[in-house]
Symmetry: C2
Subunit: 477 residues, 2 copies
C-alpha cells in the first residue's frame, strides 16, 4: 500500500503551488522528460499522442479551407533574416546560429528557423508571377527554435513543435479575410475539441508580431487565473512583399505586391489542456483529444472469466479509443494511474458486475459512477463521453467568467490586478504610454482588444482621455 | 499550341541523359524547388502530399507492431555525440554546428541531429531501470541534417525528412527479431505500396552503420540500372548500452545491459518512385501512394452539361482520391499536366461520351484507353487502379531481373560493371581488401549479402579463396 499511495502523494496540490502542481502533472502523467539539452525536452508517448490528435484534427480543418502542406528548410541565411527590419529586430536576439558545416566554417552563418516568414517570402518571390498563381495557401508542420532564457515544459521551451501557415493573396481584403478565417478556425478548434473557451480579438501594436500590420489572437484563462495566448493569426499587408519584392501581374496587367498572412498553433496547447482541465489527481483530457478515451479495469482479474469479459467489453467499445489495463498491478493503483493520465472514462468490471451483467462507468472529471447493463455499454459510453466533453467546456467557461472582472477606475484596476487573478476588462485610449504604465503599475499586459466590444466607461482607465477600445488585461504565461 | 508543346518539350529524354531527366521531372511535376539555402530544398505540395501518404501508411504499419511515437530535441551536445567512438567518427565530419544561442556563445557547441542514437540513449539511460520498462519501441518523425558536399533533390540533401525508430530490449534475440521485423516491414511497404521490388539482405562490415553490430538493408534498382539503398535496420547489440550505461535489473535480479536497434526510411523514397516508375512524359505514381488517383478532364467543357456531368462523375468516384480539372486550359494541355504529375488515371468526358453515357479511362503507365459505361465507372476505376498497381510492381521486377547479372570470373565481373548497368551477383570471401579492390577496379560497391543466398561458384570473385557469401554489387545513388 505504501507504494500505491506514492503516485498520488507526489503531486503538489494546485491550491498550494500551481507551478509545482503543473510540473508534477507533466512528469507523473508521463508527458515529457527533461534532457541533457538545456531548455529542450523529450515529448514522451502520452504527450506526443495528444499532439498527434491535435495535428490530425487541425490538419483536417485546414485542408477543408484549401490549405496545402509543404516543407521548407530549417535554416535561414543571416542575410535573408535581415530583409524585413521589424522582423529581424524581433527575432535576431533569440535565435540559434549555425556557424560550421562539417569541419568547415560557413561563408555566411545561418539561424535555425524561429519562424519561417522570410523563407516563405524567398520561395513566393520565385513562385508567384501572375494572378493565376494566387492565392498561395501553404502550411508546414515542423519544429522551431527560440533561445529562451527561462523555460517551462510545453509553455516555453527552446525548441517546440507547431504548424505555421503562410499565405499570399492578390488583394488586401482577401488577406484580411484569410487572417480572420484562420483565427476563427483556431477558436472553434479550441472550444469544440480542447473544451477551452477563448476570447477572440486583436493584439495592440505593442504586442503584435514582429513585421505584422495586425495580429489577431485567441486568449484563454488557466485555472490559476493567468492568461495564455493560444493561437495567433497575422496580417502582414504588403510589408514583407515590398521587402522581398513579391510582385505579380494582375488581371488588369498591372504589377502589384501580394498581401500576406501567417498563423500558428503550437505544442503549448498541451500545457493549456493541463492548466484548464487538470485537478489534484492529475491530468483530465477532453474526450475528443484523449489518445485513450476509455480504460477498462478488471477487478479480481485472476478469477475465471473476468479478463475474458474485459476483452469482450473492449471489443464492444471498438468505436472508441479503448484499452484494458491487464497488468498485474492492483485495481487501486490502476485507478490512480488512469486518473493521473487523464483518461476520460474508466470502466470497472469485477465478478459481481459480471454476475449482474453490468459494469461501472466512472467519469474522470466528476467521478460520477454510472452502473450500466453491459448490453447498453457502447451506447452509454458514447453519451457519457459527449456529455463530459460539453460539460468540460461549460465548466471552463464558468471558471473564466467568474475570474473576469471589470474595472472602472485605476484604483479598482490595480486592486483587482493585485488581489484577483483573472482577466480585467477596462477601457483604453490606444496609446502605448498607458499600456506601459499599466504594466509598470499593475503588473498586467494587454491580452487583446476583443471583437466583442463593450463600453464600460467613456475614458481610458489610465490617462482619463477618451477611450478607443475595451481591452482584456491580465498576467500571462 | 507553341505554349502547349513546351511542357513536354522541356523534359530531357531519360535515354539521352537520365540525371537531367530526373531533375526535369522533379521540377516540372512541381515536387520541389531550390532555395537560397544551399543544398536544401522546398518540398512543394505535390511532393509533400506523397510524403504524407508514405507517413500515413508506414505509421499505421508501425503502430500495428507496437511502435509509439515520441519527439526528441534536434540538438546534440558535442560531449553526447562523442560517447560512442565509431558513431562519432562516422558522423562528426558531416554535421552542422550551432555555436551561439541568441547573442551569446554557447558553453558547449551542439550539432543539429544527423540521426538520434545518442539522444535516445541519453533518454533511455534515465527511463529504463527494470525489465518491466522493456521493451521500449519508440519512433520519431523529424528532419535531420547531414552536411553533404554534392546534393540532389530527394536523393541527397543537407536536410531531409525521415522517421527513425529506436528500440531497447532485454535480450539479444529480441533485438535481432525487431531488427528483422522492421526490415521486412519496409520491404513489404515498398513492394505493396510503392510497387518497388527490393532485395533484402545484410550490409558488409564496411558498409554498415557507424556503431552498429549489423545493418540490414533493402536495395532497389532504378531505371538507369543504379541501385538505391531504400531502408535500413540496425542491430546495435549492447555497444551503445555500454557506452551510455543503459542497464536494467532483470527478473533474475541481475543488472544487465539492454540490446538496441534503430531503423529509418526517408524522403529519398520519393526519388525512388520517380526513378523506378517515371517515363519520358514525367512522373508515374503507383495508385496506392498517389495523392490524386483520378483526374477527370472534361472535353469541350463550355458546352452545356459537360462540367455538370464531370462533377457528377466525381461524386460517383468519391471512394477514390479524385479531382476535376475545370481550369480554362485546353484538354491537350491538361493531359500533359496530368501525365507529367503522374496521376494514375484520367477520365476523359466530352459531349459525345455523355451522349453515349460513357467515359474514357486512360492509364498513365500503359496509356491503355478503356471506354466504360458511366454506371460502371466506379467499379471499373477500382479494378484498373488495382491492376495498374500490381502491373507496375511486376514491370519493375522484370526490369530489375533483366538487369541483374551473374559473374563467375573477375573478367566477367569487370565487363558487366563496365557495360551493363544493374546488379551483379558474385561470390565473396568476406574480407575488406577484396571489397575495396572491386570498388577500385570495377567501380562498384557491395549492396548487400542477400538473405536468399545462391552458390554461384565456390570461390571469391576477386582473390579466389573460398567464398563465404553471395553478394549483390552495383553502382549506387
Amino acid at each position: 500500500m505504501a507504494k500505491e499511495k506514492k503516485l498520488v502523494e507526489e503531486i503538489t496540490s494546485m491550491e498550494e503551488d500551481f507551478a509545482q502542481w503543473y510540473t508534477d502533472v507533466v512528469k507523473k502523467a508521463e508527458l515529457i522528460d527533461y534532457t541533457s539539452v538545456k531548455g529542450c525536452m523529450v515529448i514522451k508517448p502520452a504527450g506526443y499522442a495528444i499532439w498527434e490528435n491535435i495535428q490530425h484534427e487541425l490538419d483536417r480543418r485546414f485542408k477543408e479551407t484549401g490549405v496545402e502542406n509543404v516543407y521548407l528548410p530549417m535554416f535561414i541565411p543571416e542575410s535573408l533574416l535581415q530583409k524585413e527590419k521589424d522582423h529581424v529586430e524581433g527575432f535576431a536576439p533569440e535565435v540559434a546560429w549555425v556557424t560550421h558545416g562539417g569541419l568547415e566554417p560557413l561563408q555566411e552563418r545561418m539561424c535555425v528557423r524561429p519562424t519561417s516568414e522570410t523563407l516563405f517570402c524567398d520561395f513566393y518571390q520565385k513562385e508567384i508571377q501572375s494572378y493565376r498563381d494566387l492565392p498561395k495557401v501553404y502550411n508546414q508542420w515542423c519544429s522551431v527554435v527560440r533561445w529562451e532564457k527561462t523555460t517551462r515544459p510545453f509553455l516555453r521551451s527552446r525548441e517546440f513543435l507547431w504548424q505555421e501557415g503562410h499565405t499570399a493573396h492578390a488583394t488586401a481584403e482577401e488577406a484580411e479575410e484569410r487572417t480572420i478565417q484562420m483565427l476563427n478556425l483556431y477558436a472553434d478548434f479550441c472550444e469544440e475539441v480542447l473544451a477551452i473557451p477563448v476570447i477572440r480579438g486583436r493584439k495592440t501594436d505593442k504586442e503584435k508580431f514582429a513585421g505584422a500590420e495586425a495580429t489577431y489572437t485567441i486568449e484563454s484563462l488557466m485555472h490559476d487565473g493567468k492568461a495564455l495566448q493560444s493561437g495567433t493569426s497575422h496580417n502582414f499587408g504588403d510589408g514583407f512583399a515590398k521587402a522581398f519584392d513579391i510582385q505579380f501581374t494582375d488581371k488588369d496587367n498591372q504589377l502589384k505586391y501580394v498581401h500576406q498572412t501567417s498563423w500558428g498553433m503550437t505544442t503549448r496547447m498541451i500545457g493549456a489542456i493541463i492548466m484548464v482541465h487538470g485537478d489534484n489527481s492529475g491530468l483530465v483530457l477532453p474526450p475528443r483529444i484523449a489518445p485513450t478515451q476509455v480504460m477498462i479495469i478488471p477487478i479480481q482479474q485472476k478469477k475465471a472469466g473476468v479478463l475474458d469479459k474485459a476483452y469482450e467489453v473492449k471489443d464492444m467499445l471498438s468505436n472508441y479509443r479503448v484499452k484494458v489495463d491487464d497488468t498485474d498491478k492492483s485495481p487501486g493503483w490502476k485507478f490512480s494511474e488512469q486518473e493521473m493520465r487523464g483518461i476520460p472514462l474508466r470502466v470497472e468490471l469485477g465478478p459481481k458486475d459480471i454476475e449482474a451483467n453490468q459494469a461501472v462507468i466512472v467519469r474522470r472529471d466528476t467521478r460520477e459512477k454510472i452502473v450500466t447493463p453491459i448490453p447498453e455499454l457502447a451506447t452509454k459510453v458514447g453519451e457519457v463521453l459527449e456529455t463530459m466533453q460539453s460539460e468540460m467546456l461549460e465548466r471552463a467557461r464558468k471558471h473564466r467568467d467568474a475570474h473576469t472582472y471589470t474595472a472602472k477606475t485605476l484604483d479598482e484596476f490595480k486592486q483587482i490586478a493585485n488581489e484577483k487573478p483573472g482577466f480585467i476588462k477596462a477601457m483604453w485610449c490606444g496609446c502605448q504610454e498607458c499600456e506601459d504604465a499599466l504594466k509598470e503599475e499593475a503588473g498586467v499586459t494587454s491580452r487583446c482588444i476583443p471583437f466583442d466590444q463593450e463600453e464600460i466607461t467613456g475614458t481610458c482607465i489610465h490617462c482619463g482621455k477618451p477611450a478607443k477600445h475595451m481591452v482584456y488585461w491580465g498576467k500571462a504565461y
